[in-house]
């Protein structure tokens, strides 16, 4: 068990998501930055499906009730174990009664805590990813107990030496493909979208990132159609909305671009006023 002493700003259990329920309107969910979360699991020798704790901007304070091993990846939120600073992307042995805390956000936005064998919180519809209508929880809260396994033996993990690298979160280019309605854009609109540095507006969360500035737009809505994380919608008012992991399953705005998986991961590490630029790539 891990006991939550302080929940942080938005800390949720996530795995690779919930598949097979889009047709009853249940979003996929899952880790926002699958690259960083995957790195944490690989370093620990976990399965890639193992659930991790996704922590946003301000980390939680956690009490370990059992000994285990942990790795923290993604954003650097100045993690410390019993008040001693520890590094991201390294395996740390944690003893019973140790306390993991966080400090100032230095890079990125979302950090990942992986524990040996993964978090064992409730699995609903094949996934542990928090999504309120399905799991009943939006985020962890004070005094919540998070189930983890006590590792049978501590393994010296040599994968640690592998050339796995975390991504530079200050990069601005997001690789995008043409979306189904891309061809409906005028030449000047598509030029504008490709040339403009966009700012992340204050409206950004696990469902979607809204970008600024708005661009001129005369495109009508479309007949409601499927969407996926990474779909970039253009609203009638000219706003670009990038759908993220908790997005709804269908939408009625033209889908002008589609982010690659690596672009979704990078955008997940952006926050208000960060700059992004789109770069069109072929599939």
């Amino acid at each position: 068990m891990i006991t939550v002493l302080e929940p942080g700003l938005l800390s949720t259990i996530q795995d690779l998501g919930r598949f097979g329920y889009l047709d009853i309107g249940v979003p996929i969910c899952g880790v926002m930055d699958s690259n960083s979360a995957g790195l944490a699991n690989i370093l620990l020798g976990n399965e890639k499906e193992n659930a991790v704790l996704e922590m946003t901007m301000k980390g939680p304070k956690l009490l370990f009730n059992v000994s285990t091993q942990i790795v923290i990846t993604g954003a650097d939120i100045s993690p410390h174990l019993n008040d001693v600073s520890i590094d991201n992307d390294k395996i740390h042995d944690v003893k019973k009664d140790d306390i993991l805390g966080f400090g100032k956000l230095k890079t990125g936005l979302r950090a990942y805590l992986a524990v040996k064998d993964g978090f064992k919180t409730d699995m609903v519809f094949g996934s542990r990813s928090f999504y309120q209508p399905v799991t009943g929880l939006n985020q962890i809260s004070k005094n919540l107990k998070l189930a983890i396994n006590k590792p049978i033996l501590s393994v010296n993990n040599t994968v640690q030496l592998a050339k796995l690298k975390s991504v530079d979160f200050s990069k601005q280019f997001l690789d995008v493909y043409r979306g189904p309605e891309y061809s409906q854009l005028s030449k000047s609109q598509s030029n504008k979208i490709m040339e403009t540095p966009f700012l992340v507006s204050k409206l950004y969360n696990r469902m979607a990132y809204q970008l600024l500035p708005i661009i001129e737009n005369h495109l009508d809505s479309i007949i409601t159609s499927p969407v996926l994380p990474g779909t970039v919608q253009l609203t009638p008012s000219g706003r670009l909305i990038v759908l993220m992991r908790d997005c709804q399953t269908t939408g009625g705005y033209p889908r002008v671009l589609q982010l690659s998986e690596s672009a979704i991961n990078l955008l997940s590490q952006k926050k208000e006023r960060d700059i992004v630029k789109f770069k069109l790539v072929e599939m």
Binding site: F19, G20, Y21, L22, D23, I24, G25, V26, V124, F125, P133, V134, T135, G136, Y177, P180, I222, I223, T224, S225, P226, L228, G230, Q248, T249, T250, Q258, L259, S260, E261, M283
Partner: protein, 242 residues
């Protein structure tokens, strides 16, 4: 009936299939049939299939390497589409309380549509609606068949907190909010029914292709149904269509 379909790669691991851009029951039947046939075929690394009014998204669990191969595989299934997998469809009777307490926008809507409140309720509850697909929120049904006289633009600014069960009208659509949510539709009633329950084996009773009818109930009946649902003694009325 066969349609000319467009196949497009959507992202690394999915393919979009599009029908003509119209809302039509024959297209719906064709989409459901194709979706069932895809789901019942052996397709390597297929994860799931999501459908909407005029398209299907086929999702795989790893990046697609040979996109033409995958598209041809889907085209073959469409060429030999079988009706054998068409599942039974039902007409569901959804109780709705149109009392003032719930119908917070009915007065306003009555002025706007120039119809009496009782006429709005009658027209809303006499139609049989077709479920085209589920989306937006878990258990939210996209319904076709709203009476033309009830069509009305959405509110210009969405309300922040629409109550679970609220029955609304917006544009040419009507529907029930399966949980508390923001929304821009005009609210004319509330249904006590649970449209989505993660604790049930089948979390949502309805599926694309089914039909529904709204049945007006009084507040007392509404409360009885709420209690019966809590005691797990309530079952929704349904009729087998085919």
């Amino acid at each position: 009936m066969k349609y000319y379909l467009k196949y497009k790669r959507y992202n690394e691991y999915s393919i979009l299939i599009e029908w003509p851009a119209v809302i039509d029951e024959d297209i719906l039947t064709n989409i459901i049939n194709f979706k069932n046939n895809i789901e019942n075929s052996y397709i390597e690394s297929l994860v799931e299939v999501n459908s909407a009014y005029n398209s299907i998204l086929v999702i795989y669990d790893c990046p697609i390497e040979d996109v033409n191969g995958k598209i041809n595989e889907l085209k073959r299934i469409y060429t030999y589409l079988s009706d054998a997998n068409l599942s039974s469809t039902y007409l569901w009777e959804i109780p709705v309380c149109y009392n003032e307490e719930f119908a917070i926008d009915l007065d306003h809507l009555s002025e706007r549509l120039k119809l009496s409140k009782s006429e709005i309720i009658t027209r809303h509850s006499q139609q049989i609606y077709t479920i085209y697909f589920l989306g937006f929120l878990p258990g939210f049904l996209y319904l076709g068949g709203l009476d033309k006289l009830l069509q009305c633009d959405r509110k210009s600014t969405p309300e922040l907190n629409i109550k679970k069960g609220a029955v609304g009208i917006g544009g040419n659509q009507t529907g029930v909010y399966p949980q508390n949510s923001p929304g821009g539709w005009h609210i004319i009633g509330n249904s006590p029914i649970q449209f989505f329950d993660a604790k049930r084996y089948n979390p949502c009773f309805a599926k694309a292709g089914d039909k529904i009818k709204f049945v007006p109930i009084e507040k007392q009946k509404y409360n009885e149904i709420i209690n019966a649902i809590a005691l797990k003694t309530y079952s929704l009325k349904r009729k087998l269509l085919k």
